[in-house]
């Protein structure tokens, strides 16, 4: 508390807007009176600007791991570093104000307008009114809600709109790190897909290091640059890209968790354009898809046409071909 750097928070004003790495170093969390640890020797690094999805069955400690970062839960041993500095060395309040926090139930303050909700942390940080209003407006633009929403109350918004505001509120002070605890889990499938897509495009603009907790492997594949699979007892089963997890699960637990259709899931990660050999010409009558189509859809087209070779087109002109055998290989490990 006496250290002036502590008052600044992990990033301080100068680092605002810059993404920072999050590193777990041999983190263990034991609750008193429980034999099994909730988190067992967890080590992993999320590189700056990447999204790490924590997945696993209930009791795997996903949420516990996430809450260790903003010290809603304190580790029993080990350390967590943000941008190379231990979170344990900061004042808890300043640490949390530098970390965006989004939860499934949103938790908007029902007695405050949307504008006041978004402006909560900037107000506590002492920003002046104009700056807060300006920031609130820009955040509403970012989450694709009309600026007039600033004057409404949370009860006047739909679930999807509320979670958009939850996102905007978490982004308000431009934190380098975001923690998201099943943020879209309570939304209906259509709204969820919509807001997932929006968050993905928004991430390109804002570049945050994100820890994203979900129990839904499909969501993790869609949202995560990296996926960490936790097994019951809080041990890390596997950490890697979606492609690595789907193509090369380390054991039956991970293979089960990513699903028996992991081959197909893996195909949906890549487009036919990536696999197509531009020099090859498809035989006449071969089914044709555009280069941006996923391999999964390409496979489906091939199967439906009962063909062996798929023609790939770019802007309507032939740009090579993909064979059934190549797709099969791409799906396998």
């Amino acid at each position: 508390m006496t250290d002036p750097a502590t008052q600044e928070g992990p990033v301080g004003a100068s680092h605002r807007g810059e993404a920072l790495a999050i590193e777990f170093r041999h983190v263990t969390k034991r609750y008193p009176g429980q034999d099994a640890p909730a988190i067992d020797d967890l080590s992993l690094t999320v590189p700056p600007g990447e999204t790490c999805c924590l997945v696993g069955p209930s009791g795997g400690g996903k949420t516990t791991a996430m809450k260790l970062v903003n010290r809603l839960i304190e580790p029993t041993s080990g350390d967590i570093l943000i941008g190379g500095r231990s979170v344990l060395t900061y004042d808890v309040t300043t640490l949390r104000r530098d970390i965006g926090y989004v939860i499934q139930q949103v938790g908007l303050f029902p007695h405050m307008t949307i504008g006041a909700n978004i402006g909560t942390i900037p107000r506590l940080l002492g920003w002046d009114k104009e700056r807060i209003a300006e920031r609130t407006g820009r955040l509403l633009d970012l989450v694709r809600l009309d600026r007039s929403y600033a004057k409404r109350y949370p009860a006047q918004l739909s679930g999807g709109q509320q979670q958009r505001i939850g996102l905007a509120r978490a982004l308000a002070a431009d934190p380098p790190v975001m923690l998201m605890d099943e943020p879209f889990g309570a939304l209906d499938p259509i709204t969820r897909a919509e807001i997932q897509d929006e968050f993905l495009s928004l991430e390109n603009e804002i570049r945050k290091t994100v820890i994203f907790v979900t129990h839904d492997i499909d969501e993790a594949i869609k949202m995560g640059d990296k996926i960490a699979v936790l097994r019951p007892g809080g041990r890390l089963a596997q950490y890697g890209s979606a492609d690595e997890l789907l193509g090369d699960p380390v054991d039956d637990f991970v293979a089960d968790f990513v699903g028996a259709d992991r081959g197909l899931k893996r195909l949906s990660l890549r487009s036919v354009g990536e696999l197509a050999d531009p020099g090859r010409e498809a035989p006449p009558g071969a089914p044709s898809v555009s280069a941006g189509t996923s391999l999964r859809v390409g496979l489906s087209v091939l199967l439906a046409a009962n063909a062996e070779v798929l023609e790939v087109t770019k802007e309507g002109r032939p740009a090579g071909a993909v064979t059934l055998a190549e797709i099969r290989e791409a799906a396998g490990s």
Binding site: T94, R97, Y101, Q105, T113, Y153, A155
Partner: protein, 238 residues
């Protein structure tokens, strides 16, 4: 004032020349005696207001303590329930040997009746804050003090105001009985005129007490809307 209670055996109804014998309510008489009712009305307001303010000053912190230390709740509820259950006149009489005849005794009794409702409603309000709201506030970096002041208190307000509303109306009506102890409020005229066939005096005091309760109730409803604009905001509304 106290002289009036010990007034003549045949009450002095003042100048009633404009009134007919069996008239239910004589406006002329009321106009003649307005000064007296106005004075009693003002007394009635402050006798009630003092009790309500002291009630708030005791019940709000007590509810806050019970919110933080749940084991304090049961003793507080038992205590305030006992106060609430004692018949009001009995309470007044019980207190006379302790606190004497005067405003102090009246206020102790009236305050005693406000505590249960104010305490219970405030505690309910404090506990009504959704857990996810608290979780979000904590995770975002609000300190426990900021959560209390910025989140918990404002969200408890509708319940506190609902309690205040009932307590205000109750206190105003109970305060009419205060005149049994000491000459304060509209109860004086009610006691003075209650046994007489000329009922304009009784009606004047009674109706004024009722009007006072209604006006106070409306003021609190207005105040509630003013301090909790969000409580009426619903989807589709503005």
């Amino acid at each position: 004032m106290s002289l009036r209670l010990q007034g003549p055996v045949i009450p002095d109804f003042g100048n009633t020349s404009g009134c007919k014998a069996n008239e239910t309510f004589c406006w002329d008489w009321f106009a003649d005696h307005w000064d007296r009712f106005a004075a009693e009305l003002v007394q009635h307001v402050y006798v009630s207001a003092i009790a309500i303010v002291i009630g708030l000053v005791i019940a709000l912190p007590a509810a806050l303590v019970a919110y933080r230390l749940p084991r304090f709740e049961t003793p507080a509820v038992v205590f305030s329930t006992i106060l609430y259950t004692i018949p009001v006149l009995g309470f007044f009489l019980l207190m006379i040997p302790v606190t004497g005849i005067g405003l102090f005794t009246i206020e102790i009794a009236l305050v005693g009746y406000t505590l249960l409702l104010l305490f219970r409603n405030t505690l309910t309000g404090l506990r009504s804050v959704p857990p996810e709201v608290r979780a979000a506030a904590l995770g975002m970096g609000l300190t426990p003090g900021q959560i209390l002041v910025r989140i918990t208190f404002p969200l408890a307000l509708p319940a506190v105001m609902a309690g205040l509303r009932v307590v205000t109306v109750t206190t105003i009506s109970l305060a009419t009985l205060a005149a049994y102890i000491a000459p304060y409020g509209l109860g004086q005229s009610i006691l003075f005129y209650i046994g007489n066939t000329f009922i304009s005096g009784l009606i004047s005091a009674g109706v004024l007490a009722i009007l006072l309760a209604l006006v106070a109730d409306a003021l609190i409803v207005g105040l509630t809307r003013l301090v909790t604009p969000w409580a009426r905001a619903r989807r589709g509304g503005a």
